[in-house]
Amino acid sequence: MVKMILIAIGAPLVAFAIGLSFMMIKRKIVARIQRRYGPTIIQPIYDVLKLLVKEDNISHGVIFSLGPIIAIAGSILAVFFIPMAGFSMLTGSGDLIALLYIMAIGSLGMALGAGDSANPNASIGISRALTLMFGYDLPLVIIVISVALQYHTTNLSDIVAAQANGNWTLWTLPLSAIVGFVVTYGALGEHPFDIVTAPHEVATGPMVEYGGKHLGFLMISHAFHIYIEIALFVDLFLGGASNILIFYLKMFAVFFIMIMFDEVLPRFKIDDAVRFYWKWPTVVALISLIIVLVK
């Protein structure tokens, strides 16, 4: 019992620490790519804490204040489902399907809160966020089905166990892995898929009216978001990990490749992004599904 409680508190903390460390490293790497010195490595911690100690916190309504909390709560729930280095809190058959639904809660929480602010930029941002989700969910569902068919299970822990001894899905289903990478990439909102928060177009979109501690909570939920998306990719395609260090290294490798792409690409329009997702990733995912079915 005590062990369960410890894990219940520990798992989100570890997830948050990993996500935050990625945020820190990202800013430094981006700076180096742009040939700058870059901020101190713990700059995101200063930013979040500064936002939390702001004296003024303007709220535009109950849902506005609850939005970031819903986003964090949804993320923590998702963390419990994803096997982290060998164990996961909530398992059962079909948790992969449940996870697909739970992962949407974060975006929905943000959408609810931002909608309450009645700022036109926020509304445009939300409609973009949900449209983009609509775009990448189709290939995501197809690859999840192919992975589930490949291992004859929808239990994430079993999927991880089946990939033991270097028998990764990345090698057995390379096409699905590529699509999974593109989908994860879009879900994280890196360039060219940063349509949702595009500062030059919609003034950070859903976050436009958020300031003070609400914005701080949104940054915290972003750290969770990074962890969830990449951890799911690692579990599905890179065979999970038996200890936290290897898990971290695998996640970091994925994230590092993402930053490299992120820094050199411009931004899609929202209709182009959806068209992109429904064209190439969907077609490739379908081919991979057919391969699994024929095998």
Partner: protein, 170 residues
């Protein structure tokens, strides 16, 4: 014990505030031209934890980059009042100080401090990126010692500021 902790909390909060200053990217005059080099690779102000942000709710610093005409003043006041406390204002270039080249213009504000409380001025027409960065460093020192209290002054002397604003805005 209680009072002691409150004091300590304030010190820690100020320490955090000075390390992470977000400025709203709202440019009024030609001095704004010097900001891109300050932000980008050449002078890289992100080293000091400064970053440009796009909305008034998220930002901590408001830069009045040069001359401020009456039409813009209205927007600047809205932006300033939308920002969340604690907030800081930097007057940029001699135009914000005393009118500069526009000292006899009918459409331009001469002294920024009469309309919104400036914490700091940068002299020069236009100030170089080095001057801007040293101004930011100075602002950090002011925040650390609790002297950057423009937002408190604005609340305390609201009638005075509103009176001045009304005179030019009508």
């Amino acid at each position: 014990m209680e009072r002691m902790t409150e004091e300590q909390v304030k010190t820690i909060a100020n320490m955090l505030r000075k390390r992470s200053l977000w400025m709203i990217h709202y440019c009024t005059g030609c001095g704004a031209m010097e900001l891109p080099p300050t932000m980008t690779s050449r002078y890289d102000m992100e080293r000091f934890g400064l970053a440009p942000y796009v909305t008034s709710r998220q930002a901590d610093i408001l830069l009045i980059t040069g001359y401020l005409n009456v039409k813009t003043l209205r927007r600047v006041i809205t932006v300033y009042e939308q920002m969340l406390d604690p907030k800081y204002v930097i007057g940029f270039g001699s135009c914000a100080l005393n009118g500069g080249v526009y000292w006899d213009s009918y459409a331009v504000i001469k002294q920024l401090d009469r309309y919104i409380p400036a914490d700091l001025y940068i002299a020069g027409c236009m100030p170089r990126p080095e001057a801007i960065i040293s101004a930011f460093r100075h602002l950090m020192e002011l925040i650390d010692s609790g002297k950057a209290d423009g937002y408190k002054r604005y609340k305390r002397n609201l009638a005075y500021y509103k009176e001045n604003q009304r005179k030019v805005l009508g």
